[in-house]
């Protein structure tokens, strides 16, 4: 794409709706994620309300959500649908599309010095594939028997037999179609990211000069390309079991509604293997970009290079490779061979090695820093805490013997929320506060940002850590009514505590949304580099213009985080700043 070519001003539809500009597409993904998050958060509010006070009646909610409540009490089958849809929408339609698709799209070309993604048209198609996927997911609530209720993991036979549960009918079929569209979209996006990163880096931008955000998006995209096909295969076979009377996952002798079903010879465990072959790498697709963003923000707002840039890159690669060979730790109590179980346990805990490198490097990146407590930085710091506690909790689940007790308990729920809800959302917030100027040419309000931090961070961390305690007490997940078990009575107060703790950040996000949308139109205007950051995106105007730079693309002369090295005048040397003649050393 020639920088000097004249581009006729696109009309409204080409500019705002069917844009092929990576920056607009990135914003579209983020806005879509916001809408889906409103739904998924509302559902979680209903769930937490019920879990804290299972017998309470909520007539007002009964009026607002007539299909979900009866006599003001949430129905058990609707509870399971809400849990399923909350998980599915949050993982794929909020975090994946905002953290990876949204930030990846916006940031990658700007950070590597490219004018756009390798395939702008394909990029636009990727986004417009997500939109029907979202709509179909939401529409599944209006299926006659409700939305899918088999958990986001959709294990057969529950998900394969329409009579097994309300929600296992059309709701589950629609879920599968929406997921197929999601996978198609994400694969197209991953292809675009990988090609762009490998081929469109500007002069001087070697792989080991790329910011860690780009590295993590790169690795996450490769993981997605390798892992999602397994879920595609599983979803197709599940669809055939549901609609074509096949028996991929359904054994003989199933009795449902008094009749013996005609299926023969399949095994539900096959689905679990295929599902988790994707499922485990998927969580790293989410967590690694979060860590990459944390590094970028800590470097810029801490005014020092990342400690251990190279070792972090290698740690990321090792985590990614290991993530593909450990999926069985989700199946320790499934009846899998104990030898296979031991292998998966030994392999899974080895991930703590490179993960500890990443955590240590994040902390060490504060040593001899000059910390600026911006909202972005504060959320990045909070990521360190969440990754630490969440990562350690994972060891208890990775060890097969302790997982014998903790499997499918609230320990698991607390762990994965810390890792792929708290860590990822903190990264999304840090990323938005940090890159908002580049997106919209304005600053977000820092006071509101700090308020957002203080209402969100202590409460979410405390809330999800408390879930670990509930899991230690033995409370299982997907549990509509904890009061059904006597042994859980002594810890029901934990459910109340968790709900109260989490309602606060739930409400606080409106503060963030107000700040986000209000600053878009009325925020303080800023120049190209309000944070005095080094990476390439800060060498162009704010907001970044079409084609990202003027006639000349920036050239990368150094690594991405040269803060306070070499006694540079402003305390940093931008990546695109040519060395002075006297200091030039040819390699």
């Amino acid at each position: 794409m020639s920088a000097t070519a004249e581009h006729a001003q696109p009309g409204f539809w080409r500019h705002y709706v069917f844009s092929t500009d990576h920056k607009m597409i990135g914003k579209q993904y983020i806005l879509t994620a916001v809408v889906m998050a409103l739904f998924a958060t509302t559902w979680s509010v209903l769930l937490r309300l019920h879990l804290a006070w299972p017998q309470a009646q909520w007539p007002l909610l009964g009026k607002l959500f007539p299909g979900l409540f009866q006599d003001g009490v949430l129905l058990p089958e609707r509870y399971l649908s809400l849990v399923t849809m909350h998980g599915t929408v949050m993982i794929f339609f909020v975090i994946s599309i905002s953290l990876v698709s949204g930030f990846g799209n916006f940031v990658i070309p700007l950070q590597i010095g490219a004018r756009d993604m390798a395939y702008p048209f394909l990029n636009m198609l990727s986004y417009w594939t997500i939109v029907p996927a979202c709509l179909i997911m939401l529409a599944s609530f209006f299926a006659p028997e409700g939305a899918a209720g088999s958990g986001w993991t959709a294990y057969p036979p529950l998900s394969a037999l329409p009579d097994a549960a309300p929600g296992s009918g059309l709701g589950q079929t629609l879920w599968l179609f929406a997921m197929a569209l999601f996978i198609a979209s994400f694969t197209m996006g991953g292809l675009n990211f990988v090609t762009t990163i490998l081929n469109l880096r500007t002069r001087g931008m070697s792989m080991f000069r790329m910011p860690l955000t780009v590295w993590t998006m790169f690795i996450a995209s490769i993981l997605g390309i390798l892992a999602f096909p397994a879920l595609t295969a599983a979803a197709i076979m599940l669809l055939l079991d549901r609609l074509g009377s096949t028996s991929f996952f359904l054994p003989s002798g199933l009795v449902m509604g008094g009749t013996v079903l005609p299926h023969q010879g399949g095994t539900p465990l096959l689905f679990q293997h295929l599902f988790w072959f994707l499922g485990h790498p998927e969580v790293y697709v989410l967590v690694l970009p979060a860590i990459g963003i944390a590094f970028d923000v800590v470097a810029a707002h801490g005014r020092r290079p990342v400690f251990g840039y190279r070792t972090s890159v290698w740690a990321l690669v090792v985590v990614a490779v290991l993530s593909m060979i450990v999926w069985g730790h989700h199946m320790f109590v499934s009846g899998m061979s104990p030898y296979v179980g031991e292998y998966f346990s030994i392999a899974t805990v080895s991930i703590t090695g490179p993960f500890a490198v990443l955590a240590l490097n994040l902390v060490a990146s504060l040593w001899r820093a000059e910390i600026r407590l911006t909202s972005a930085m504060m959320f990045a710091l909070a990521i360190v805490a969440a990754v630490g506690i969440g990562g350690v909790g994972g060891i208890f689940l990775a060890t097969a013997t302790s997982d014998q007790y903790l499997h499918n308990s609230y320990f698991v729920v607390g762990h994965f929320h810390l890792m792929i809800a708290v860590v990822t959302f903190f990264a999304i917030f840090a990323g938005i506060y940090h890159w908002f100027p580049k997106m919209f040419g304005r600053r977000m309000n820092e006071t509101l940002g700090k308020a957002h931090f203080w209402l969100t961070v202590p409460t979410t961390i405390a809330g999800f850590v408390t879930m670990h305690f509930l899991g230690m007490a033995g409370e299982q997940r997907h549990l509509y009514d904890p009061s059904a078990y006597k042994f859980l009575e002594p810890v029901q107060w934990l459910n109340v505590l968790i709900s109260i703790l989490l309602f606060i950040p739930g409400a606080a996000q409106f503060l963030f949304l107000w700040n986000f949308f209000h600053s878009m139109v009325a925020g303080e205007r800023v120049g190209p580099n309000p944070w005095q950051a080094t990476t390439l995106e800060w060498t162009t105007e704010s907001p970044a213009p079409h084609l990202n730079w003027g006639a000349e693309l920036p050239v990368a002369y150094r690594g991405p985080y040269d803060y306070r090295l070499n006694g540079a005048p402003d305390g940093y040397e931008p990546q695109a700043a040519a060395p002075s003649a006297a200091a030039l050393v040819t390699s």
Partner: protein
């Protein structure tokens, strides 16, 4: 100056926050939440959990202290020497956490965990009491082999309200099979082998006090092996989402003194003979 003072205030607040989080986490995990253990291998499971708590707790606390120190030292605007790149330090500070964490965690898995894992998956001892538990929406059908010591044939097509286990009258071994719903009686101190079957969807048989949990997978015969070490009544929970009645799929395991267990067993009549 004013900015520094304001930031100092924020730094202090942040440090207090991370301190509070650390205290909350460590303090919370130090409390005993788990129900008292009532099985032999359960002691080992708890041993692994306590090992991990004691091994990872100091790691977390050390990390937190360093983190808070860095915030204090480098967050209040005091003069700070410029960081100098130190590839050797960076390399060593990769090797140290990798080696350290691998050692810590693999000790947990291999040294502490494997012996217990082997107990859980040990060959069924000859003196084990064998019980069959079938999970179905939304109850546990429990079957004992009866005086002949053999489980009779069951057929899915025979399952109905009057024959919840699907016992086949044509098989003599099935006539004395004892069937009860949602309760399992076991003797104290003897190994118990539970054969797990599933009839419709996935379930999971779990007794928290025994540290027992195993999925019920239709088409697959899964197993549970444990020795109960304390008499009493222990709740069975289903721990794999199985439909709208998942939350009320509870039952009870009664651990009886051996004589009481025999008495109970002798009191039961074969389901087909009733």
């Amino acid at each position: 100056m004013k900015r520094e003072r304001r930031q100092t205030g924020e730094v202090v607040a942040l440090i207090l926050l991370f301190l509070a989080i650390t205290v909350f986490t460590v303090g919370g995990f130090a409390r005993q939440w788990m129900p008292p253990v009532a099985s032999a291998h359960g002691v080992g499971v708890d041993g692994v959990i306590w090992y991990l708590l004691k091994a990872t707790g100091p790691v977390l606390v050390t990390g937190a202290v360093i983190f808070m120190y860095f915030l204090w030292r480098y967050g209040r605007g005091r003069p700070t020497p410029a960081p100098t790149p130190n590839p050797r330090a960076e390399l060593w500070w990769s090797i140290v956490p990798v080696v350290g964490m691998m050692a810590l965690t693999e000790v947990g898995v291999v040294v502490k965990g494997m012996p217990v894992w082997e107990q859980i998956y040990a060959p069924i001892p000859a003196d084990a009491v064998t019980v069959e538990v079938t999970g179905q929406q939304f109850e546990w059908i429990v079957r004992y082999p009866g005086p002949d010591g053999k489980f009779g044939r069951v057929k899915p097509e025979l399952v109905d309200k009057t024959n919840p286990a699907g016992l086949d009258r044509d098989d003599p071994a099935a006539l004395d099979d004892i069937v009860v719903r949602n309760q399992v009686h076991v003797p104290l101190g003897r190994p118990v082998y539970i054969r797990l079957r599933g009839r419709d969807v996935l379930h999971s048989f779990s007794v928290a006090s025994f540290r027992v949990k195993q999925d019920v997978v239709p088409g697959v015969l899964n197993r549970v092996l444990f020795v109960a070490t304390a008499p009493g009544r222990y709740e069975i929970a289903c721990t794999q989402v199985c439909g709208m009645g998942h939350y009320k799929m509870h039952g009870a395991v009664y651990v009886d003194q051996p004589q009481d267990y025999q008495d109970w067993l002798q009191h039961q009549t074969g389901w087909l003979q009733q």
